[in-house]
Symmetry: C3
Amino acid sequence: MSVLHLVTLLTDFGRQDIYVGVMKGVIANIEPQIQTIDLSHDIPVQNVIAARFCLLTAYEYFPPNTVHVAVVDPEVGSIRRAIAIEFDRGFLVGPDNGLFSGILNRVEAISAVELTNSQYWRTHYASNTFHGRDIFAPVGAHLASGIPLAELGETIAIESLVKSPVPQFQIEEKQITGCLQYIDRFGNLISNIPNELITTRHQTVQVVDRLIKLSKTYSDVPVGELVAIAGSHGWLEIAVNSGSAGHELNVDWQDCLTTLVRLT
Amino acid sequence: MSVLHLVTLLTDFGRQDIYVGVMKGVIANIEPQIQTIDLSHDIPVQNVIAARFCLLTAYEYFPPNTVHVAVVDPEVGSIRRAIAIEFDRGFLVGPDNGLFSGILNRVEAISAVELTNSQYWRTHYASNTFHGRDIFAPVGAHLASGIPLAELGETIAIESLVKSPVPQFQIEEKQITGCLQYIDRFGNLISNIPNELITTRHQTVQVVDRLIKLSKTYSDVPVGELVAIAGSHGWLEIAVNSGSAGHELNVDWQDCLTTLVRLT
Amino acid sequence: MSVLHLVTLLTDFGRQDIYVGVMKGVIANIEPQIQTIDLSHDIPVQNVIAARFCLLTAYEYFPPNTVHVAVVDPEVGSIRRAIAIEFDRGFLVGPDNGLFSGILNRVEAISAVELTNSQYWRTHYASNTFHGRDIFAPVGAHLASGIPLAELGETIAIESLVKSPVPQFQIEEKQITGCLQYIDRFGNLISNIPNELITTRHQTVQVVDRLIKLSKTYSDVPVGELVAIAGSHGWLEIAVNSGSAGHELNVDWQDCLTTLVRLT
């Protein structure tokens, strides 16, 4: 028997309903020994930007060959493609809507398929509304059990995958300009400027109309004050010591990509 | 050693407290190799109707012999019976309050016992308030480990089990009349009219005072508009494209069974 | 191969972000066969009192040698110590801020270390903000895999551990006076007066300015009324039948330790 791999699940299904439990039942029905780990099921509804960020910040902590099944899928039932991708750390399974573009900007894909082979679906007929149960969970379980990617459907060109919805940061002479890409549950605002670009000559961060001091930890400023730090996710992050930067700056999910962050 | 079976957990305990973690500790203490899957722990508090629906829509996706432990138990500590049921897909464990009536309307029970044998409880004395920890989780773990149902207590007549709290739909000449039975976290309203009864001659659904067009997918109507579809759970469902039908129709849990749904 | 032990996780990270999933990825990366159980990830943010209570009420239900990793850590990145403790039921891993003082008031510690050996961290460099990922999860996984406690760092005196933040109850001639220590999601108020001290001569409980009758179960009083019972956690508890005592008495987390409970 081949070694079983881990399956992670990331959705916007929440936890009140049995959507997530049913996906795990479908996986256990294919191979009861597969271990599943929840990345999150509380992604803001249909927020592909947030889900993309979560995958990007999580994948590198998992063992080789982990299968990441992600279902944030506003266009389920339409003509968007269902895909699976092999990359050097494992596999990605979900809709082709840019969810995986964060990872694929960083690590090259080895190959990709459209999930056209209904033999590896739950049944040969998939519902119009719940591809997580009918296509993505069973395909993830089969990948974790050792079925080769090429079995799952027709190979597609990697260049044909939907591109990232998050713009690139810009390096200018005196500043780096990026945008917000994520708000965590503490209200910390995470930008798309990587920690590696922060140097000792940088001193302040401008967000909305506020100038914020660059510091080492949250507690370098008094309780209740804004602070910018090299965050634990790997990007420049704006926080409030023991508070919420999202609340303090009046920034919500709909402001994310359009809110500029200037590091000077 | 006999093969270990899966245990699912469904409760209204929420996730802030350690109630659910403790139930898993009790299971692991009996047999550490048992795998548990959470169906939901965010059932609206003491809402047997919602829990019944979740079990009914989830059970068929799990492997044979799965043990479903469900604890939505408004009458804990009173004289309601604690029961376990064997049916052709596995086992059901919980209070005798109609929780399992959805499944048992569809699949016949093989046998049922009252959980009177305290040898299979956590201790011989059960608390008045937490039978999930003291009776249902340990009994579920023992069933998953291969203890026969008949060991767990006195056999009871299947006809004596508490009947379903959800009324049956009515088929009349020109319409089918049912009611709402569940509201999911997206605000989709799920009726008790099975998808199989929807035919091409049906065109509209009446709920509250609204006439809603029967369509194929959420996105067959403009964003923000009501739509009725054959839902992925298996019943006629009322939704709003990218919105909440519960909010739009001002329907909440307490309206569920009394809100009629007419398919014409 | 040595037997693998269970790892439980308790944090205030919530479930929207991937913090918890990443800790599980780090554990699976060290040893994929370790089973993890979530105690709670919805501890009120930075509430060491609530986390201490949850650990205290959960630990005894788990198998011997379970490793409890707890990360409610307001002082992360400051000079507070990162510690691991061996006690007669297993291991405790987390910050030295009183989190484990509830358990250690009840069960004696066998030995304790400061987590100074970075060989057992995720990498030799730990972030300033996420010791759950970088130190506590990997140390927990190594303990569960059989690494001896003494390998993880320098031994520290058990008397040097941070003391409990919760005061002791007082036994006087005609009454026992304690305080609130926890509010569960139903709004039940849990005191620090143990059930064992409640005798038949006790009749009422005074909280805030209310005199509440001591009863056997929630349903001994009419729906909506206050009741005091010997709670399932092991302490005297104030509840409202089918309601919230926290709401009824206008008591919130910040009132916990300062709200007195008098049993007479």
